[in-house]
């Protein structure tokens, strides 16, 4: 399917930013800077009010984005407004996907109505996402067991559904995910929530080993911060690196310090470049550079 192509030639660099952080315009510039810096896929966060899987850095980004007025509809506009030539993945929580189809509730205001359970499920959201050019989804609170309806809608509109494999994922659960995953698999480098850390976890190698017979690219995320990290991870066998908090930190600092959009964009672009180059170096160090 579509997203796999991004991993075809060399290890992929997959950055994350929350769309609309700290505001719509700047965020467009920042995402474009990532593309400029060498991103192979971009994970764009659509902020949800209860981001249970995120660490403090990304939580704060989500708050900034929500406060600047981000909504699912604005998000779709945002994607349309983006001037990048990189595949885009929407990272969000299931309730937003699920509610989008609930037209009755969408129109209602004032007293909530009480019996507006969504009849359509995730399909309308996926349809709209496809329309604006989104190529896949990462939904951290949607386990394989509950993913049926979303998987179906993705199939209908030709989108990928990325799953996250945790260090604790084993046995039956791995099987179930392998059956449903497409695009790439998000290998969570360590337990916990998102957030940049300082070293690479042993759990990463073990996870990669467990996934060795999967036929989708393996992108490792959680805690990757520098080019060296990216290098190590790829050297350990990853097909790509996913980097979120380290980039969001740049946005946050720029926002706090009142730096110009260009200055922040430059910093993002240069970290992106470092990370991408690290990943590429890592690939060269691999014992057997066999790529799926």
């Amino acid at each position: 399917m579509g997203l796999e192509r991004a991993f075809a030639d060399e290890p992929a660099f997959v950055p994350y930013l929350a769309a609309g952080d700290p505001n719509y315009e700047d965020s467009l510039a920042y995402v474009e800077a990532l593309a400029e810096g060498g991103a192979d896929v971009i994970e764009l966060g659509l902020p949800f009010s209860e981001p249970i899987a995120e660490g403090k850095t990304i939580q704060d980004a989500i708050v900034r984005s929500l406060e600047s007025g981000m909504t699912p509809d604005r998000f779709f506009e945002f994607v349309e407004d983006l001037d990048v030539d990189v595949p885009l993945v929407c990272m969000t929580y299931y309730n937003l996907i699920y509610q989008y189809g609930d037209s009755e509730s969408r129109s209602d205001s004032g007293t909530a109505s009480g019996d507006t359970a969504s009849q359509e499920g995730p399909r309308p959201f996926v349809e709209k996402a496809a329309e604006v050019g989104i190529e896949g989804f990462v939904v951290p609170d949607l386990p394989a067991e509950e993913a049926g309806p979303l998987r179906e809608a993705c199939d209908e509109f030709g989108l990928d559904l990325v799953f996250i494999v945790a260090p604790t994922t084993r046995g039956d659960r791995l099987e179930r995910m392998m059956e449903q995953v497409s695009g790439y698999v998000y290998v969570q480098a360590r337990l916990g929530v998102t957030g940049a850390r300082d070293d690479v976890d042993d759990a990463t190698e073990a996870s990669l080993a467990r996934l060795s017979d999967w036929d989708v690219p393996k992108a490792v995320g959680f805690g990757i911060k520098t080019g060296e990290h990216a290098e190590e991870i790829v050297a350990a066998g990853a097909d790509g690196v996913i980097v979120g908090s380290a980039l969001v930190d740049i946005v946050a600092e720029g926002h706090e310090d009142g730096d110009s959009t260009e200055a922040v964009a430059d910093r993002l672009e240069s970290l992106a470049r470092e990370l991408k180059q690290g990943a590429v170096r890592g690939a060269q160090e691999r014992p057997q550079p066999e790529r799926t």
Binding site: F48, S49, E50, P51, I52, A53, E54, G55, K56, Q59, V63, L66, T71, P72, D73, Y93, Y94, N95, L96, I97, Y98, Q99, Y100, D102, S105, R106, S107, D108, S109, G110, T111, A112, S113, G114, T116, A117, S118, P140, D141, L142, P143, E145, E146, F163, I164, V165, A166, P167, T168, T169, R170, R173, Q188, L191, G192, V193
Partner: protein, 437 residues
């Protein structure tokens, strides 16, 4: 309940396990432990649990005939006195069950979220009792407005971790505790405080709380010779609610049961189950600000996914969760247990709501008329009784989910903002001087 429950995460459409992948093994392990220890009493878990509930918790709690209210409403009103449980609320039933289960599972650390502080207090007590280290996440706003409970947790030796994200209330504290759990899942058990969250929590918490209705059903038969016509309980997440309903759910005959059966037969008939939510200051929501000035999730909410489960929610049209509001911190939650959502859809449970004013009045009424100071959460159930006793039949059981000591400051403040005839004059405290409560 059956052992299939351990592996069926759903209540009709509701429930499920919408959690980050990192937590899935933990909740699968938990579901397995739930099946073995709770449902099958492996290693005598349930026996030990029940014994500790009796000796440490003070069970059984009485089913008390409320003389003044019965006269007032010309209806036999019985109070199920969970306020007498150790810690002052039904919360200990669940906290003790889960901490004990964590021990059976070999976990070494307990975490929990708390809103009003009642669940945190209960968990801290249970953890101290069972010698387990314990950390409680609590929103900053709630810490400031529920200080006595913060003291109690600290005094029981628990760490209290302030949650500064968002509005700093229960919703944020749950999210934060899930984050901790995602990092520490291998040695840590997350004691969730109501029948919410991913499977197996809603079923397991219900089963730990079901002791309320097991006792109440037997006590009602013993005292009245039959089943009550209605059981009324307040509902936030819904743990006291399902605890009070569980054993009555199958009493779903066509006719009310108060026609007492004089023989020794097992009583039959229909027991109406009424879940009273917080109507707050109004049922009208402010979509713009994302604020619902109530937490009437069952009566006004939409289906959605929050904190690991599909259930009814207070959310805006995009699916963003709203800020709920209630004078009672313990009902101030935008979600509700998936089982209650299901039973409401099935028509087995009637969702109603009572606003802040009526709850405050009911607080004063029960205190003055019966000498029982209820939690503000509980007061909602009595507010409904005042307004709708005619519809509840001849015999009503009201679950007194907790005592109101924790609420004194709020009650005085909220009462002073209103013109409630029933409220006592509190000026003695100004006359004599001194600090806060």
């Amino acid at each position: 309940m059956s052992t299939d429950d351990a592996h069926d995460p759903k209540f009709g459409e509701y429930g499920g396990q919408y959690v980050p992948e990192a937590l899935m093994p933990a909740i699968e392990e938990l579901a397995d432990a739930y099946g073995r220890y709770v449902l099958e009493n492996e290693d005598g878990f349930m026996d030990e649990f029940r014994e500790r509930l009796a000796d440490f918790g003070g069970r059984p709690t009485p089913l008390q005939y409320a003389e003044q209210l019965s006269a007032r409403y010309d209806t036999d009103v019985y109070l199920k006195r969970e306020d007498l449980l150790h810690g002052g609320a039904h919360k200990l039933n669940n906290a003790l069950g889960q901490v004990l289960l964590a021990k059976y599972m070999g976990k070494e650390r307990i975490i929990a979220e708390t809103g009003a502080g009642q669940h945190g207090t209960a968990t801290a007590m249970a953890a101290a009792h069972l010698d387990m280290p314990c950390e409680i996440y609590m929103g900053e706003t709630d810490i400031a407005r529920q200080r006595p409970n913060v003291f109690r947790m600290r005094i029981n030796g628990a760490e209290v971790n302030p949650v500064t994200v968002g509005r700093g209330t229960l919703k944020e504290a749950i999210s934060e505790t899930m984050r901790d759990w995602a990092t520490t899942v291998e040695n840590t058990h997350y004691v969730i405080g109501s029948i919410v969250g991913p499977h197996p929590f809603p079923k397991m918490v219900r089963d730990f709380q079901a002791v309320i209705s097991e006792e109440a059903r037997e006590q009602a038969i013993e005292k009245t010779g039959g089943l009550p016509d209605s059981v009324v309980a307040c509902a936030g997440g819904g743990s006291n609610t399902m605890g009070a309903f569980a054993e009555f759910v199958s009493d779903d005959g066509a006719e009310r049961s108060s026609a007492k059966n004089p023989s020794g037969d097992e009583p039959r008939g229909r027991v109406d189950l009424v879940a009273v939510e917080a109507g707050g200051s109004s049922l009208t929501v402010d979509e713009e600000k994302g604020v619902a000035p109530n937490s009437a999730t069952l009566s006004t909410g939409d289906e959605g996914v929050l904190h690991g489960a599909r259930t009814k929610l207070l959310q805006d049209s995009d699916g963003q969760i709203m800020e709920s509001h209630s004078v009672s911190a313990g009902l101030d939650y935008a979600g509700v247990g998936p089982e209650l959502a299901h039973l409401v859809d099935e028509g087995r449970v009637t969702p109603v709501n009572v606003d802040d004013d009526a709850a405050l009045e009911a607080f004063h009424r029960l205190s003055q008329d019966e000498g029982v100071i209820p939690a503000l959460e509980t007061a909602h159930a009595f507010g409904y009784l005042e307004e709708n006793h005619d519809e509840l039949g001849d015999t009503v059981v009201v679950n007194v989910s907790g005592r109101g000591d924790k609420d004194l400051e709020t009650v005085i403040e909220e009462t002073s903002k209103r013109d409630l005839d029933i409220a006592p004059d509190m000026s003695i405290l100004n006359r004599v001087g001194g600090g806060g409560i």
